[in-house]
């Protein structure tokens, strides 16, 4: 790295590298890639602020932030996975399982191997949820890398398994419920509720958490060796291998990160609903994928950004909120949401072809 750059050839040849212009068309191109989702978001916000007097009110904006937070956190994990060339269908199930386990332990006393455990305080509950998330991620990673099973199939399997375990843990009941509540403590800790439903200076805590996740994740992707390895593994596995990158370890770490974020999302959701249940967040795995793809990520890996994912999650969130405000029936909402996802991605592909090659 620190060696003298001896001139390659004596005679002057070819054109000397020109001074690079300040303005670089590449920067513009890079921006254009994220523009599809941003444009959709701006159009949506513009339309809704005209169509509904309730849309641009502080209360509703806080509401959107709270609703979007869970999708954003899950989608952040999903983005890491998709960038590395994988896909994680188990994020919502992991969220449900971690939150269920934590909620049961925080609200009741459980006998494990003859030892009475719980009810545990909020901090311990958080740590337990995170550990469960990491564990599921580790399992996903090991199945995929060591078991050599395609990501899609492996996480489809863990999705079902984790929902099953969550049902076993909660007995199929919401937590806390009047059936599982003991005289010790039958309610969720207030810190958890604050996390999901509270606010600081009028800003929803859940939204701040989601924003924090995006910022930290963005830094990881841009500034750490791990983040770079993710892009390399997703962008060209063989090149990553030849360059000495530990592909298995990178993938396992990515799935663990996704599991960790899923657990965080599960806790935020539990706080917001003031209740956990085994099947919570169903369908969120597909929303997280949709948010990532709307945000401009390539499903085959190696291309995408968390900023795009945040915008993608907002598109989905604002759309849902707006359709509610406009009194569109829940059935039509689904139809419209599906069409919007397809529309944004089609637009994105078209624009990418024009700006890309």
């Amino acid at each position: 790295m620190k060696k003298k750059a001896s001139p390659l050839k004596q005679q002057p040849m070819m054109s000397p590298p020109m001074a690079r212009p300040r303005f670089n068309p590449e920067t513009l191109r890079r921006w254009a890639v994220q523009m599809g989702a941003l444009l959709a978001l701006l159009l949506l916000v513009g339309y809704l602020s005209l169509a509904s007097p309730h849309f641009l009110t502080p209360g509703n904006i806080a509401n959107v932030a709270r609703q979007t937070a869970v999708t954003t956190i899950l989608a952040a994990g999903q983005t890491f996975v998709i960038l590395s060339g994988g896909i994680d269908l188990s994020v919502a199930a992991t969220a449900g399982l971690s939150a269920s386990v934590a909620a049961v332990l925080m609200t009741s006393q459980v006998w494990i191997l003859g030892v009475p455990i719980g009810p545990v305080p909020f901090g311990v509950g958080m740590i337990i949820a995170m550990l469960v998330g990491l564990l599921v991620g580790l399992l996903n990673g090991l199945i995929i890398t060591k078991g050599r099973i395609p990501d899609f199939i492996a996480t489809l399997g863990t999705l079902t398994t984790m929902r099953g375990i969550a049902l076993l843990v909660t007995g199929g009941l919401p937590v806390p419920s009047h059936l599982t509540a003991t005289e010790l403590r039958g309610y969720l800790p207030p810190e958890l509720i604050w996390m999901g439903a509270g606010d600081v200076f009028g800003i929803p805590v859940a939204g701040l958490i989601a924003l924090g996740v995006i910022v930290v994740g963005w830094c990881i992707l841009r500034y750490t060796a791990f983040g770079r390895a993710i892009y390399a593994v997703g962008g060209n596995r063989e090149a990553a291998r030849v360059s000495g990158i530990n592909i298995d370890r990178t993938k396992i770490m990515v799935y663990m990160l996704s599991g960790l974020l899923a657990a965080l999302a599960g806790m935020v959701l539990t706080g917001r609903l003031n209740s956990a249940n085994a099947l919570m967040g169903e369908g969120e795995e597909l929303r997280s994928i949709a948010a990532t793809v709307i945000g401009g990520a390539n499903l085959f890996g190696g291309q995408g950004s968390l900023l795009g994912t945040l915008i993608g999650a907002l598109v989905i969130g604002v759309l849902g909120n707006g359709l509610n405000l406009l009194n569109v029936s829940a059935f039509w909402q689904r139809v419209i949401q599906g069409l919007v996802i397809i529309g944004v991605v089609i637009f994105d592909q078209w624009r990418r072809r024009r700006f890309g090659a």
């Binding site: 390659l8 050839k9 590298p17 750490t224 390399a232 360059s243």
Partner: protein, 508 residues
């Protein structure tokens, strides 16, 4: 010699710009019936762009194209791949476009399998006709074999057979011999001549200057998107061509100098890989360039891969600087200062990442995954090497996907130059790159060996090995069959040592 022949193709003032590059600057090109027209130029000179415009894969900014038909020349305005095929233009690209899980016969007739009267696929006919087509090419490939089981050379021949199936009147061959053995190449040349005699116009893209007098009638040289000259092959010699291609005289294409041989750097003892390598032993010293030659499949690529930790199931012992090393993963090799230039450029780069991260990719595995990257330093390193290796265009935040082949190769080389590599394994480093870039690669090799880096130089080009290596090891069926000191061997010697026993022309 092309007096009374009809024009098959005329391209006039073709112009194309990509962001930041003037890929084609008002280029003229034409092709007569029964002619082999060689298109020559460095990587990034615009050859592929010109052919892609002809194939309809990309559109031109300006310029006109006429294509000859039964009614004479007809101007065509917008070309699409379908239109091109209908006009009788067949393209054989460097990147193969076969379906790996289908049989050879299915690939040859893809989209138009022979049918029985009832509309079902006539398999007997399919295989029979495929066999005949391959026979015409002079190769014995089983038409029932799955394409993915074939060697690269066999796949290339299958691809050619497929394109010929549509009986093109204009045939474009983009570096068709890069993967072929000498025998296969000779057969291919015979076939090309036969096609020419039947009146097919052939555009032949190649980097091998030595091939041009063997096969070409006329040659057009492109440089930096401009047409430099179009000449009958009989009127040019190799030196003149090189000069036109690179725009300067290459006084020293092979800059080999005698260098001081240092300590033993790499010692390989009884290296074996089931079915590929048998008891390979040799020593490589600091500052030494050891060439490895072998016919296709003789084990030279696996030898290179094993030394870089890509063949973890080897047996035998590998010592680096007198230390026994177990190379189970590429990072084991990289931590020992071993760098690999993979055989396939596409295996070396992350196409969507720009130049700087691609250059520093080999350093990611050194240290904790949680450490912070020094992006500023990375850009500096990239700037240094972009300048030193003349990587063009020097745009640091554009994905390397947009670079030409030779420039991509330079990026992979820069990766090992910027780390303190002790042993560099080059697996066919000049495959598919042009003379100018080749000379640059050799200069770098020379420079590195002067600095004491040991180089294992696997190549299919005997001329390069004879010119650049201190010693040459010849592999035959996974064993070292001969070792020559510099100056001891000729191309004939190498070939004889590589193919002494029951060789069958390089096919598997």
């Amino acid at each position: 010699m092309a007096e009374e022949r009809r024009l098959l193709l005329r391209m006039e003032q073709i112009d194309k710009r990509f962001p930041g590059v003037h890929a084609l600057d008002h280029v003229d090109f034409d092709l007569y019936e029964g002619e082999i027209h060689v298109l020559l130029g460095e990587n990034g000179a615009g050859k592929s762009t010109l052919m892609k415009i002809l194939s309809g894969a990309i559109s031109r900014d300006s310029g006109r194209i006429w294509i000859g038909g039964r009614e004479g020349l007809v101007e065509v305005s917008d070309l699409t791949p379908e239109r091109t095929r209908a006009l009788g233009i067949g393209m054989v690209y460097q990147e193969l476009s076969l379906v790996p899980y289908l049989s050879v016969a299915e690939n040859i007739f893809l989209g138009g399998l022979p049918r029985t009267r009832w509309g079902a696929v006539d398999w007997a006919q399919t295989y029979h006709r495929a066999w005949q087509r391959l026979q015409d090419l002079g190769v014995s490939i089983d038409p029932r074999a799955q394409v993915r089981e074939l060697s690269v050379a066999e796949q290339q021949l299958t691809e050619i057979a497929r394109v010929l199936e549509s009986h093109p009147r204009i045939l474009v061959l983009d570096e068709p011999t890069s993967a072929l053995s000498d025998t296969e190449r000779t057969r291919l040349f015979e076939l090309i001549r036969r096609l020419r005699d039947r009146g097919v116009g052939i555009i032949y893209i190649s980097h091998r200057l030595a091939e041009i007098p063997l096969i070409g009638d006329r040659v057009t040289v492109l440089r930096d998107g401009k047409r430099i000259a179009t000449l009958p092959v009989t009127e040019v010699d190799e030196d003149r061509l090189i000069q036109m291609v690179v725009g300067r005289k290459l006084t020293e294409q092979y800059p080999w100098r005698n260098n001081v041989r240092g300590e033993a750097l790499l010692r390989v003892e009884n290296l074996s890989l089931p079915g590929v390598l048998r008891n390979v032993s040799f020593t490589l010293h600091e500052g030494e360039i050891v060439g490895v030659f072998g016919l296709m499949g003789a084990g030279q690529n696996e030898l290179a891969r094993a030394l870089c930790g890509l063949e973890p199931r080897y047996t035998g012992r590998i010592f680096i600087a007198n230390q026994l090393i177990h190379l189970r993963h590429p990072w084991d090799a990289i931590r020992q200062g071993v760098g690999l230039l993979p055989r396939d450029r596409r295996d070396g780069l992350v196409p969507l990442l720009p130049i700087p991260p691609n250059i520093t990719l080999g350093q990611l595995c050194l240290g904790s995954p949680f450490r912070i990257l020094n992006l500023r330093q990375e850009i500096q390193i990239a700037n240094t090497y972009v300048e030193r290796l003349h990587i063009h265009p020097p745009i640091l935040n554009r994905p390397v996907f947009y670079l030409s082949g030779g420039n991509q190769q330079k990026v992979v080389l820069a990766r090992w130059l910027c780390s303190n590599v002790r042993l560099l394994v080059l697996d066919d480093p000049t495959r598919g790159i042009d003379v100018g870039a080749k000379a640059e690669v050799f200069t770098l090799m020379e420079e590195l060996s002067q600095r004491g880096v040991g180089i294992l130089f696997v190549s299919s080009e005997m001329e390069e090995l004879l010119a650049m290596a201190n010693r040459i090891l010849v592999l035959r069926q996974g064993q070292i069959s001969a070792e020559y000191q510099r100056g001891e061997a000729t191309e004939e010697d190498l070939l004889r040592s590589a193919s002494y026993e029951k060789s069958n022309g390089g096919s598997r």
